[in-house]
Amino acid sequence: MFFPLFFKECRQIAKSLVYYLYLIILVLFLTSQLSDGDWSDRLTEPKPGQESYGFKESEDETLIMESTLAELVRETDWNSYATYPFMFYKEVTLNDSELAEIEQILFECTGKSFEQLLDEMDAHFSGYDQSTMEGAPISGQTFLVEPAEDLTFEEFQNAMKRVCGIIGKGSAFEPEKLTASEPKTYEDALEDYRALCEKDKVTGAYMRLFCDYAGIMLVILPIFLGATRCLRDKRADAQQVIYARAASSLQVVGSRYLANLFMAFLPVVLIAFLLQSPYLYLARTNGVAPDVLAFLKYSVGWLLPTLMVTLALSFVLTELIGNVFAVILQVFWSFACIALETSLVGEFGFHLEPRWNTVGNTQSFFAQLGQLAINRLFYLLLAILLFGLTVLIFDRKRKGGVFWHGKNSKSRG
């Protein structure tokens, strides 16, 4: 019974307008986001004496203090502080007395007045390329602020705690989040390049970027597939006839869920395969043996749990609520998940959509691979749990249980 049901569901999905919109939006989004970038320079071996080899994260306390103080000066100059209090971006603006407090903290940390610090910043940037991309200076040299000579790291952390007390929680000045980046050396860049060739085999690096973009769509689009399927019985007034059938709830819901999963995932894998192709060629041209199956490994390991959980949540909410509110609720949840991302590269934690908005950084990726694996396993299990819940709800509804008002609204005669 299961396979015939599954194939019938697939055929029905293939005839649905929602599915075609899903395909069109997915294809348009991925091709528009991924066709622009030319990442071939990342796949070229670095040479000694280059002007820049990029940046890496630093644990140097002095550098962290210099970098954080510079960031504080910049944000105070704009009076605009980026925070993530409920894991959602919130821009904070301070009043005059609060600004004065921040300036005082800066003075204690640097021994200089705010005006002096601003002068230093202006002097720094006037010497370099002023072009900005949406407000972020893209000059090659990073602006740093020298801390006071006798300032210890612990004192600095305490000062930053006071800053957080003024700005609010979720800012970049929280002591646990303090970070800095330093320029890579030729040796660092060469090591990265070798890792990209040997560990990533080139295609793996590109597939991570693909997963980064595809993940955004897979947190939103499948909501509509799931909701449409679950509301279909109600729209067609076919609930009673289907409920009275011998097929178990697991078979009915399972075939619907798996069919939607299959039909939603298939184009993702196909697009991944197609977009990977130029990089197969590029790798071979550079004398590197590519990972031909990278598209499949990353699609299944990275994207599939996201798709599974989004679809499962859509199923469970729609079966429970029984109308379009399920869609609205889940859309908000999805946007919150996207806004939850505090880093565009790594720091996977338990984010629904793991981000890796770059090509390469192979060593950093493999250092966090364990974290990613736990994350994906968590969402896989969550998807299974939500699916199970959907089956239970469907079964209960089938036996005359209701979830609203405590009355059987169809009671007649």
Binding site: M1, K8, Q12, A236, D237, A238, Q240, V241, A247, G400
Partner: protein, 291 residues
């Protein structure tokens, strides 16, 4: 009981409303009619039998299987709901095939039976017609086809002829009689003519309770001597309506031939006549279910 339904002390409550109250019924092979006004509890009873609603108390067994064993009961029951519909974009063949899959039928079996069923309900020509384009009669025929395709032992049909034209109604009744030869068919309706034409045994439900359980002839006997016919002036009709329950009327100019229910002869010129099922039903309802 291997082929039949046993219902003992069945009750169902929806919040404060008592939909069914201490219902006791034994339904054997053949056509069984369930009559009653709107809101009597017929659909609730149907849904309990087909496992779509849980009972509050009592016992229900379908061919010896307790109704709590949903999967087993669903394997042997077929249900045609009052407002049957299917996915609009499926055609008749696809819809029937889909529901047959849900009934656990294998591919070979379906390949053989789906066309047979469509033939049986006279939908072969419309097998490629989409459900949303079907007339009410066609949908009903598709409905009965899906209710019987998996050869159930018990078939429950809820108001199957509502909205059908007379010809289709007759065809439907004949089809139901045919399938009832070796299984239980419960026909729930408030169209008395359906009962008259097809059922030997009936039960009448009112306000959640069984007020009559027996044969059609038994119901007719109740109303014997209580039904009268007379020819009256059309002007007298309103007065007559106030006093008696009129069950039939045929106006011919200034005169009207009426049939009415009365304990005793209502008019000097009235003659006692043999009651039909509708008369008997109306008499029963009038008596408040005392039988």
């Amino acid at each position: 009981m291997e082929t039949g339904i046993e219902i003992k002390n069945l009750s169902k409550q929806f919040g404060k409303k008592q939909a069914l109250s201490d219902v006791n019924l034994t339904i054997e092979r053949g056509m069984f009619g369930l009559l009653g006004p709107n809101g009597a509890g017929k659909t609730t009873l149907m849904k309990i039998i087909t496992t779509l609603t849980k009972k509050s108390s009592g016992e229900v067994r379908i061919c010896g299987i307790p109704v709590e064993e949903c999967k087993r009961v669903r394997q042997i029951t077929g249900y045609l709901p009052q407002d049957f519909s299917m996915y609009g974009n499926m055609n008749a063949y696809e819809a029937l095939d889909y529901l047959a899959v849900l009934s656990g039928m294998e591919k070979e079996e379906r390949k053989k039976l789906v066309p047979e069923m469509l033939e049986k309900v006279n939908l072969t020509e419309q097998k490629r017609t989409k459900v949303r384009a079907m007339s009410g009669g066609m949908k009903r025929r598709l409905g009965i086809a899906q209710a019987i395709i998996h050869n159930p032992k018990v078939i429950v049909v809820d108001e199957p002829t509502a909205g059908l034209d007379p010809e289709e109604r007759v065809r439907f009744r004949n089809l139901l009689c045919e399938v009832a030869k070796d299984r239980v068919v419960i026909l729930s309706t408030h169209i008395v003519g359906d009962i008259e034409a097809t059922c030997e045994r009936i039960a009448v439900l009112n306000n959640g309770s069984i007020i009559f359980d027996g044969t059609v002839s038994g119901l007719l006997k109740l109303a014997e001597g209580k039904v009268y016919s007379a020819e009256v002036s059309t002007m007298e009709l309103p007065k007559l309506r106030e006093k008696y329950q009129i069950t039939g009327m045929l106006t011919n100019g200034s005169l009207t031939h009426v049939k009415m229910i009365a304990q005793t002869k209502p008019l000097p010129e009235a003659k006692a006549c043999a009651p039909d099922v509708e008369d008997a039903y109306m008499y029963l309802m009038q008596q408040g279910g005392v039988c």
